[in-house]
Amino acid sequence: QLLQLNSRKINNSIKKWRRTNVFFVYFNYTADIISTVEFNHSGELLATGDKGGRVVIFQQEQENKIQSHSRGEYNVYSTFQSHEPEFDYLKSLEIEEKINKIRWLPQKNAAQFLLSTNDKTIKLWKISERDKRPEGYNLKEEDGRYRDPTTVTTLRVPVFRPMDLMVEASPRRIFANAHTYHINSISINSDYETYLSADDLRINLWHLEITDRSFNIVDIKPANMEELTEVITAAEFHPNSCNTFVYSSSKGTIRLCDMRASALCDRHSKLFEEPEDPSNRSFFSEIISSISDVKFSHSGRYMMTRDYLSVKIWDLNMENRPVETYQVHEYLRSKLCSLYENDCIFDKFECCWNGSDSVVMTGSYNNFFRMFDRNTKRDITLEASRENNKPRTVLKPRKVCASGKRKKDEISVDSLDFNKKILHTAWHPKENIIAVATTNNLYIFQDKVN
C-alpha cells in the first residue's frame, strides 16, 4: 500500500516540476561544460564535474529542513580542481583534464569521500569540514610576530577555538597507470572496499586503499586489433551483491559477470541481448544500438540501459528481451542521416532511476529531458532553459510533433536545436529532486508539494 501511495505521489509529481535553483556555471564556455552529475548516498550533496577538471559540490540547504518549500535549495559547498591536463610523453598524447565520472563512497565517518576520474587517472578525494582551529603559541604572537624568547617563562599548550566553517577537499589516493584506453566508468562495490574502472577494452578491479596494484578482470582486446568489433561502453557493480557486475558494449549487449566463479571474468555468466528487428535494419542500426549507459535499480532486481533512441529496462532474470522499452525520441529515426553527419549520433546520453525505482529519466536534444513512469506507462517531456522558466515556476510539458500537422504548443522536429543536449541527469536517492545538466548550466528541480 505504501508503495502504491508513493507511486501516486510521483505520478502526480511528474506533471508539476518546479524549478528551485539554477546555477550558472560559466566563466569560460569550453572550460565549464558539465561532464558528470552525481548525488551522494543521502542526497545531501550533489557533485558535478566539468571539462576543465573541476569538481563543484553543492549542499542541500540545512536550516529550512522543516519547511518543505525550500527542500530543493542547493548551495555551493566546495569547489576544487580535481584533474589537470597532462601529457603522456611516451605516447605523445595529451591527457584531458575532463572529469568523466564521479562516484561517492558510502559514508564512513564525518567526512565525505568521492572518486573522480578523467580518461586515465582515478583520484580519491576527501571532503571534510573544519570548525575549530588551534590558538596560542609559546614563541610568537598569533599574528606571527616573534616574542623575545627570554620572556617565555611558562609553557602554553594550544587550545582549539571555534572558527567559521571551512570545507576542505584533499586528495587521498591516486590510482594511475592502469588504463591504456579511456576510462568510461567507475563503480564502487557493495563490499565497501573495492571498485572497478572500465575503459574501452578492459575492466580493472581496485582496492580503495591500494594504489600500486589493480587486477584486470575483463579483457576483450583481441590479439589482432583489426578484429576488434566491440568496445566496453559502461560498467557497474550490483548495488547489493558484491560479486556481480555488468558491462555494456557498443553492440547493444550487456554482460553480467560473477566474480565468485573465477578470478578472471572474461566469460560472462549472463548475456542480455534483444534480437534485432529485421524490418528496422539500416546502415545506422549498429550505431544506434550502442549502449551509452547502464544503471542498476536501487533494489538490484532490474537494470536500465540507454541506447541512442530508447531506454530499456531488463529484469536480471530474463536475458532474451527487456521487460520494458521506452522511446526517448523516436521522431529522430528519420533524421539519423543528418545526425550522423553532425556526429550527434555518437552522443552518450545517461539515464537514472528515481529513489523508489518507479520512474526513470534521461536526456534528449533541445534541452529536453524525458521521464517515464513505469507503473502508469505515462511519460513527459520537460525543458531546462533559463528563458522559459523563472525560479519557482511550474515546468510546462513540451511536445515534439513527429509528423503531419503541427498543433499549437508543439515543436517541429526540424526546429530542434541539436547543440543543446542534456546528457547528464541525476535523481536524489530519497526525494523527488533532480539535477539536470545542460551544456554549461546545472538545473535543480523538485516536485511541487501540495
Binding site: Q81, E84, P85, E86, P106, Q107, K108, N109, A110, A111, T121, S128, R130, P134, N138, L139, K140, Y146, P149, T150, V152, T153, T154, L155, R156, V157, P158, F160, S170, P171, R172, R173, I174, A176, N177, A178, S190, D191, Y192, E193, L205, H207, E209, I210, T211, D212, R213, F215, N216, D219, N240, S241, C242, N243, M259, R260, A261, S262, A263, L264
Partner: protein
C-alpha cells in the same frame, strides 16, 4: 584487518601473471599522497619524485634540507594545483626556519629547559607536516615537561581535537598514546587517554584506526577492573553503536580485551553488542566482526561459545557477501580448537564442509590457504574422514588460484598426517589428484621436504612423467623453472637414476632455441658436476659437450664455449687442459666472428686453471693470432685476454699475495672484464653489481665513441645480463642477431 585477502594478496591477472603498477611519474600534488614505508613508517612520496634528492626514509630531517627539497620540486611545478601546494610550502619553509634560527640565538639566556619544549609545543601546530610529526614523536618529552596534571587537562584535550591532521601524524599520535599511562599519572588516570584514542578510532584510514585500537588494547590492561567498567566498557559501547561504520569496525577489536575482566552483567551486555555487530548492515563491520570472532571466542566461557559464538559463526559463514564468508573460515580454526571432537563434528564441520564447496572461489581459496591450521584444529579423525576428500576436491578445483593454494599445503598436510598409514594415504589419496603443471612444479620444488616424508623412489616414479613433460613444455619459462630444480632432483635421486632418466634431458636443453634455456642448462651442468664429481663429468658430460663444437649452427658451437667456461673450474686442471683446451683452440679458426671472440673470452676465463706451460705455448700464440684478427671485436677481446694471461704468467713466475696484486690494465674502466681469480667472490651480489656497472658503461661508451668505435662493451649485453627475465629476452635477441647488424644498430 586484512584488506581483501583473496584478491589483493594473490598474484592475479591475465595469463596468471599479476600486474604490478609503478607509481605515476605525473604525481604532482605532493600533499596527501603517501605510501607506507617498508618499516611501517610513513613517508611522503614526493621526496622520491624529486630528481637528484635521495633522502633516507627516516623522519629526522632538518627543516632546511626539507625546504631545499621542496624548492627544487617547485621548480618543476606542473599546473595550478602544484603551484598552490608550493606556495603553501614556501610559507612553511619560512615558518620552519624562524624558530630554528631563534633557538640557536636564544639558547643562552632564556630558560634553558623550557625553550626546546616551547619549540616542540609550537611545532605541534606548525604548518609543515614533517615538523608536526617530529613533535608528535617527542610527545612524551612534552608531557614530561608539562607534568601529569597539565598533560591531562591541557595536552590531551588538544590532542583529541587534532584528528584533522595528516594520517602519518595521526598514526604517530595513536602509537604514542599507547605508552602514555605513566605520563598522565599512572593506571588511576589511564582513562584520560581514552578520548583522543576514541576519536582516532573513527578516522577513515585503516592503518590509523588499527593503531588506535592496538593502543586502546594496551591501555585496557592498565585499567583497574573498576575503571574498566566505568570508562573502558562505555567507550566500547559508544564505538559499537556509533553512527559511522569506522567506529563500529574499531569496536570489534576491543571486546576480547575487556570481556575477561568484566562482571557477569557487563559480560552479557558485551556479548549482546558483539552479536549485533555480527549482523551489522555494512559488510565492513561484519568483516571486522568475523575476523575477531575467533579471538573473542577464546575469552568466552565454553557454554557461551556453544550457545552464542557458534550460531554467529554459522551466520557469518553463510553471509550473502563472499568477502565476509571467507573470513569465517579463519574463525573456524580458533573455534574448533576450543571444542571437543563431538562438538566439532556437530557444530563446526557442517559449515566447514559447506565452505570447502562454496560457490565463490575466494572462499575455497581461503579453505585451501588455511588447510593445515584447520587440519590441526579438527584432529586426525575428522581430517581422515572429511578433510582429505575436501582437499582432493581443492586440488582439482576449476580455479587455478585455489589449486595453487592447495598445492602449497601438500607438504604440511603430509607432515601432519599420522605416521601410521601415512605413505599409503599420500600415494593413494593425494598424489593421483595432482595434475596440473603448476601444482607438480610446486611439489618438485619442495621435493627434499616431501622426500623426508615418503621414500624418493616411490615419489620419483609418479613425478618423473611430470618432469619429462615439463622439460619439453612449449613455454620456455616453464622449462627454465624445471632446469632450476635439476640440481635438487639430482641430489635426491642419485647418480644412477639421474643418468638413466634425466641426463638426456639436460643435454637436450643445451641446444634449446631459447638462449635463456641454453644458459641455464650450462649453469645446471656446472652444478651437476659439483654434485657428482669430475669423473662423472669426464665420462658423461664433457664428451657430449665437445661434440657440439663441430655443430653447423654457430650458436651451438658457442654453447660449447659457454659450457667450457662453466665446467672448467669444476672439472679441474687436468680435464681442462687435456680435453677442453684443444677444442677451444681449434675453434679460434671458426669462420663466425662471434665464435672467435668468445674463444678469446673463454681462454681468458680458463686461463687461471691452466698451467704456465699450456698458457705460454698453446694459449698465447692463439690469442696473438686472434689479436691480429680482421674483426675489431675479436681483436678487442683477444687483447683483453692477452693482458689477463700475461698477468697470470707474471704472477706464476713471481708469486705475489692476492692483496698486492697489481690491477690489470683496464681493470678500472672495465670491471666486467677483470679475470676472476679462484679466490675471488663469485657471489650473485657481485655479479649483479658488475653487470650493472657494465651495462651502464656499455651504454655510455657507445654514446661517446659513436657507432663506428663502439667496441667490446657493445657486446656486454649478452655477457652480463643474466638475472632478470626481461633482460634475458634482450640477451637472446642480441645473440641471435648477425654481428654486423648489431654494430650498426648500436
Amino acid at each position: 584487518m586484512n584488506p581483501c585477502p583473496y584478491f589483493f594478496l594473490l598474484g592475479k591477472g591475465h595469463g596468471g601473471s599479476f600486474r604490478l603498477l609503478s607509481p605515476s611519474v605525473f604525481w604532482s600534488s605532493d600533499l596527501q599522497l603517501r605510501k607506507r614505508g617498508p618499516g611501517g613508517g610513513p613517508h611522503l612520496l614526493c621526496r622520491y619524485s624529486v630528481p637528484g634528492l635521495r633522502l633516507p626514509p627516516s623522519s629526522g630531517l632538518s627543516p632546511a634540507y626539507q625546504g631545499a627539497g621542496r624548492g627544487q620540486g617547485a621548480g618543476r611545478g606542473q599546473g595550478a594545483q602544484r603551484a598552490a601546494v608550493t606556495r603553501r610550502r614556501r610559507k612553511n619553509m619560512a615558518g620552519a626556519a624562524g624558530p630554528a634560527t631563534g633557538s640557536g640565538a636564544a639558547g643562552g639566556d632564556g630558560d634553558d629547559s623550557l625553550y626546546p619544549i616551547a619549540v616542540l609545543i609550537d611545532e605541534l601546530r606548525n604548518e609543515d607536516v614533517q615538523l608536526r610529526l617530529n613533535s608528535i614523536k617527542k610527545l612524551s618529552t612534552i608531557a614530561l615537561a608539562l607534568g601529569v596534571e597539565r598533560t591531562r587537562t591541557e595536552l590531551l584535550p588538544f590532542l583529541t581535537d587534532t584528528i584533522y591532521d595528516e594520517d602519518e601524524v595521526l598514526l604517530a599520535l595513536a602509537e604514542q598514546l599507547g605508552n602514555f599511562t605513566g605520563l598522565v599519572g599512572g593506571p588511576d588516570f589511564a582513562h584520560c587517554l581514552l578520548p583522543p584514542l576514541e576519536s582516532l578510532a573513527t578516522v577513515e584510514e585503516t592503518v590509523v584506526r588499527d593503531k588506535a585500537v592496538e593502543s586502546l588494547r594496551q591501555i585496557s590492561q592498565e585499567h583497574t577492573p573498576v575503571a574498566l567498567e566505568a570508562h573502558f566498557v562505555p567507550l566500547v559501547k559508544r564505538l559499537a553503536s556509533g553512527d559511522w561504520f569506522t567506529s563500529r569496525t574499531s569496536a570489534c577489536g576491543l571486546f576480547s580485551v575487556c570481556y575477561p575482566r568484566a562482571s557477569i552483567a557487563v559480560k552479557g551486555e558485551i556479548r549482546q553488542y558483539f552479536r549485533s555487530l555480527c549482523s551489522d548492515d555494512t559488510p565492513m563491520v561484519r568483516r571486522a566482526a568475523a575476523s575477531k570472532l575467533g579471538e573473542f571466542a577464546k575469552v568466552l566461557e565454553l557454554d557461551s561459545v556453544k550457545s552464542e559464538i557458534v550460531p554467529l559463526f554459522t551466520n557469518l559463514a553463510s553471509d550473502e557477501q563472499d568477502s565476509v564468508r571467507l573470513l569465517a573460515v579463519e574463525a573456524c580454526v580458533s573455534i574448533a580448537q576450543l571444542l571437543s571432537q563431538d562438538d566439532i563434528e556437530a557444530l563446526v564441520m557442517p559449515t566447514l564442509r559447506q565452505a570447502a564447496e562454496d560457490k565463490s572461489w575466494r572462499v575455497r581459496y581461503m579453505v585451501a590457504d588455511k588447510f593445515s591450521e584447520l587440519q590441526k584444529a579438527v584432529g586426525p579423525k575428522i581430517t581422515l574422514n572429511d578433510l582429505i576428500p575436501a582437499f582432493q576436491n581443492l586440488l582439482k578445483d576449476c580455479e587455478a588460484e585455489v589449486r595453487a593454494a592447495a598445492a602449497h599445503k601438500v607438504k604440511e598436510l603430509c607432515e601432519n598426517l599420522p605416521m601410521e598409514g601415512r605413505e599409503t594415504m599420500i600415494m593413494n589419496q593425494i598424489l593421483p589428484y595432482i595434475k596440473c603443471p603448476e601444482v607438480r612444479l610446486n611439489i618438485i620444488s619442495n621435493l627434499d621436504c616431501v622426500n623426508e616424508v615418503i621414500g624418493i623412489r616411490q615419489l620419483s616414479q609418479s613425478l618423473l612423467p611430470a618432469i619429462v613433460e615439463l622439460a619439453e613444455d612449449a613455454k620456455w619459462r616453464v622449462r627454465l623453472a624445471i632446469i632450476e630444480y635439476m640440481p635438487l632432483l639430482a641430489g635426491q635421486l642419485g647418480v644412477e637414476f639421474f643418468d638413466e632418466k634425466l641426463n638426456s634431458l639436460c643435454m637436450a636443453w643445451l641446444v634449446d632455441h631459447v638462449y635463456a634455456i641454453r644458459e641455464a642448462a650450462t649453469n645446471n651442468l656446472m652444478k651437476l658436476v659439483q654434485k657428482f664429481g669430475t669423473e662423472w663429468a669426464q665420462n658423461t658430460i664433457v664428451p657430449k659437450v665437445l661434440v657440439m663444437a663441430n655443430d653447423p649452427n654457430y650458436l651451438h658451437r658457442m654453447t660449447t664455449l659457454f659450457c667450457i667456461n662453466a665446467l672448467s673450474e669444476a672439472c679441474g686442471q687436468e680435464i681442462t687442459t687435456k680435453q677442453m683446451l684443444p677444442i677451444v683452440l681449434k675453434m679460434a679458426g671458426d669462420q663466425v666472428a662471434n665464435v672467435r671472440f668468445n674463444v678469446a673470452k673463454s681462454l681468458q676465463k680458463i686461463g687461471p686453471i691452466l698451467d704456465t706451460n699450456a698458457l705460454q705455448e698453446e694459449v698465447k700464440p692463439v690469442l696473438q693470432k686472434l689479436g691480429q684478427d680482421e674483426d675489431m671485436d675479436v681483436k678487442y677481446f683477444a687483447q683483453e685476454a692477452i693482458s689477463a694471461v700475461a698477468q697470470r704468467l707474471r704472477k706464476l713466475d713471481f708469486p705475489v699475495k692476492d692483496s698486492e696484486e697489481p690491477s690489470a690494465p683496464g681493470a678500472d674502466k672495465n670491471h666486467f672484464l677483470r679475470p676472476r681469480g679462484p679466490g675471488e667472490d663469485t657471489g650473485k651480489a657481485q655479479r649483479d653489481r658488475v653487470a650493472r656497472v657494465a651495462s651502464k658503461e656499455a651504454a655510455e661508451t657507445a654514446q661517446f665513441r659513436g657507432p663506428g668505435t663502439a667496441k667490446g662493451p657493445a657486446y656486454q649485453l649478452h655477457v652480463n645480463t643474466r638475472d632478470t627475465l626481461p633482460q634475458l629476452d634482450t640477451a637472446e635477441i642480441v645473440l641471435f642477431l648477425p654481428k654486423h647488424r648489431l654494430i650498426s644498430r648500436i
